[in-house]
Symmetry: C2
Subunit: 219 residues, 2 copies
């Protein structure tokens, strides 16, 4: 899927809301329809477009209910400036991970922000280096994006059981910063009592700790 | 402008084509309409939407012709994975440049791709570090994007004259990699004879060199 197709898909607010929901948990049509306040017919139409693009897949559970989930791992970057309108979409390839250190420790000689007296040749060289830097940073982010997904997968697997997804989400929310039950509840969009129970279960396993009301990952 | 508004705007192929055109050079309505094969009325409608969002601006030249150009410098990033649907848009702030080295030389301890025997606590920590890394890379990219625009501006200024924009575009295309006149002509979307003349003028100033048919920036 190229950037144009992806932008066409993401240019619709309801499709974005469906993806937000599915990133949270796999859902069936009625669920999505009720959550969005949109007719099942419209939801099916959006899901068909997302499926056709390979962004979403479905599987049928033992009760013969069809669940949809996000199938793809991808990143889109758009740059807009008076001199540029560039779009780039890419799939994170874990195959690039061996070389990652190279991307992140790239030359930063271009970082002196002063071009007051740079001549044209020097500016052209800076342009060259900045374009390389942009490419390398983009590669590094593709790698990070791929690794994040792998770690989330591994977490979900380790926290096996019915609510492994919720536990992983709570951990992911904590990874973004410590917080109280109420704050974490807003971050994972789940009721406070559910989040509180998840935190206590994770604390029993030593995966999270708390200082008073503040929950965090152990140091 | 938030990511949702930006995605709504970019979800339209003709608006994307208008932005592509304006990134190349400021244009007036009839020009855009002819280039796109779209009615002037439709072009005006798209331009109004882009102007309302602050993405595009216009100015009137001495012949009272209204030229449109891209007004904003911004970046949009979208991450899609089974666990995430995240969009982020940001304006590159040159104010962050002093701290840039920090972002680019970030800790890469997370880069061992092997979580075969990582326990839950270790995975949660990796998640934390990866999220930090993602944020820092994103900041570094905003900075690069801002610097690229500044360098293009400085170049356009130095190559003063009627076709300074074309000369800058040719330099930018060369910065992305050496090439023959025909290749560069495709990259900047200008006729080969125009590009050849630009290259010879740049060569006179020592800004570009060539080995046979291959043009490049000097080492």
């Amino acid at each position: 899927m190229d950037s144009a197709d992806l932008l066409d898909l993401l240019g619709n607010a309801n499709r974005r809301r469906i993806l937000q929901l599915l990133a949270h948990k796999p859902c069936y049509v009625t669920e999505i329809s009720e959550y969005l306040g949109v007719s099942p017919k419209a939801v099916i139409d959006h899901l068909e477009k997302l499926e056709a693009a390979g962004l979403v897949e479905s599987r049928v559970d033992e009760k013969r209910r069809k669940y949809f989930h996000i199938a793809r791992n991808l990143r889109l970057e758009v740059n807009v400036s008076p001199y540029e309108f560039g779009t780039k979409s890419a799939y994170p390839a874990s195959a690039v991970d061996v070389t990652t250190c190279r991307y992140v420790s790239i030359e930063t000689a271009v970082t002196d922000g002063d071009d007051g007296d740079a001549d044209t040749t020097e500016l052209a060289r800076q342009l060259d280096r900045l374009q390389d830097l942009e490419t390398e940073l983009s590669m590094a982010q593709r790698w990070v994006h791929g690794r994040l997904t792998e770690v989330m997968e591994a977490l979900t697997e380790q926290l096996a059981g019915e609510d492994s997804r919720l536990l992983s989400d709570v951990l992911s929310a904590l990874a973004a910063g410590s917080g109280t039950v109420d704050e974490l509840s807003r971050r994972v969009e789940a009721p406070p009592e559910v989040v509180a129970e998840a935190l206590h279960r994770l604390a029993e396993e030593g995966v999270v700790v708390h200082d008073g009301d503040e929950w965090r990952l152990p140091d």
